[in-house]
């Protein structure tokens, strides 16, 4: 199932609704990298609350996605990693180095607000 991506002001919100196949994950990655340019977005929130598994492929794809979006000039934050998913990732040795995470959508948007205002402050 293709992940729906909503535009909210300067941000994009990718809201994962159900289990994702590898192809779905790659589709989301490509959609977001393209839409950041189309909408001139400053930030992206990827909400994975609905996911009960984040395996090595998902971790690698999320990392690639975050780095690519940064190269496109926007910030990405992953929100909603469930407690048992977080423990499973740690035990499997999976991590997301250099990728921002936040508790939920609200915290994710607040993080993006802080990060994008810092960017603009340092530009001025």
């Amino acid at each position: 199932m293709r992940v729906p991506i909503l535009k909210q002001g300067p941000y994009l919100i990718a809201s994962v609704q159900s289990a994702l196949t590898d192809a779905d994950l790659l589709q989301m990655r490509d959609d977001l990298a393209r839409l950041v340019g189309q909408h001139r977005s400053h930030g992206v929130v990827v909400d994975v609350t609905a996911l009960d598994v984040l395996d090595s492929f998902a971790a690698r794809t999320l990392r690639t996605m975050a780095y690519a979006i940064r190269l496109r000039g926007a910030q990405m934050v992953i929100v909603g990693i469930q407690p048992e998913v977080a423990f499973a990732m740690v035990q499997l040795g999976l991590s997301l180095p250099g990728v921002d995470t936040a508790l939920d959508l609200e915290e994710g948007l607040a993080l993006l607000n802080r990060k994008t205002s810092e960017d603009h402050a340092s530009e001025g």
């Binding site: 590898d22 598994v53 090595s56 499973a88 035990q91 999976l94």
Partner: protein, 133 residues
């Protein structure tokens, strides 16, 4: 609930199906939500190895019982190219497919028993077991 579930693995869609079947069976056996996530993730890793390396194979999910305790047995079997150096494949960070190289060693860490038998040009069978606490 059947005592054995077989999932044919041919594509990424089947990887999701296998881990969902495994989670359902493990939930039925009384595993904690934490263990369900570990089991589902380990199944995802071994099922994806089938798709990536062997193209097709199967995941067999079974119930184990010992002294009144229940466990889940996950068998991932393929007739693919096999693994030339199994010891190396079990090391963290070793991958021949550009992956993270954490699938097999990670799965071994989170399951109670882990066994891998592989023969070049014959295929690979991974058998993993986890007991409900």
């Amino acid at each position: 609930m059947k005592d054995e579930v077989r999932v044919t693995i041919k594509s990424d869609v089947d990887v999701v199906a296998a881990r969902q079947e495994g989670r359902a069976l493990a939930a039925h056996l009384g595993f904690s939500t934490g263990d369900l996530a570990l089991i589902a993730t380990a199944i995802s890793e071994v099922a994806r190895n089938i798709v990536n390396y062997a193209k097709q194979g199967e995941i067999i999910l079974k119930v184990a019982e010992k002294d009144g305790r229940y466990g889940i047995v996950v068998v991932a079997r393929d007739q693919g190219p096999g693994i030339a150096d199994v010891a190396r494949a079990m090391q963290d960070g070793h991958s021949t497919s550009g992956g993270l190289g954490l699938g097999l060693p990670g799965s071994k860490r989170v399951m109670d028993d882990f066994d891998i038998v592989s023969e070049v040009d014959k295929g690979t069978t991974v058998t993993m077991k986890k007991w409900a606490r």
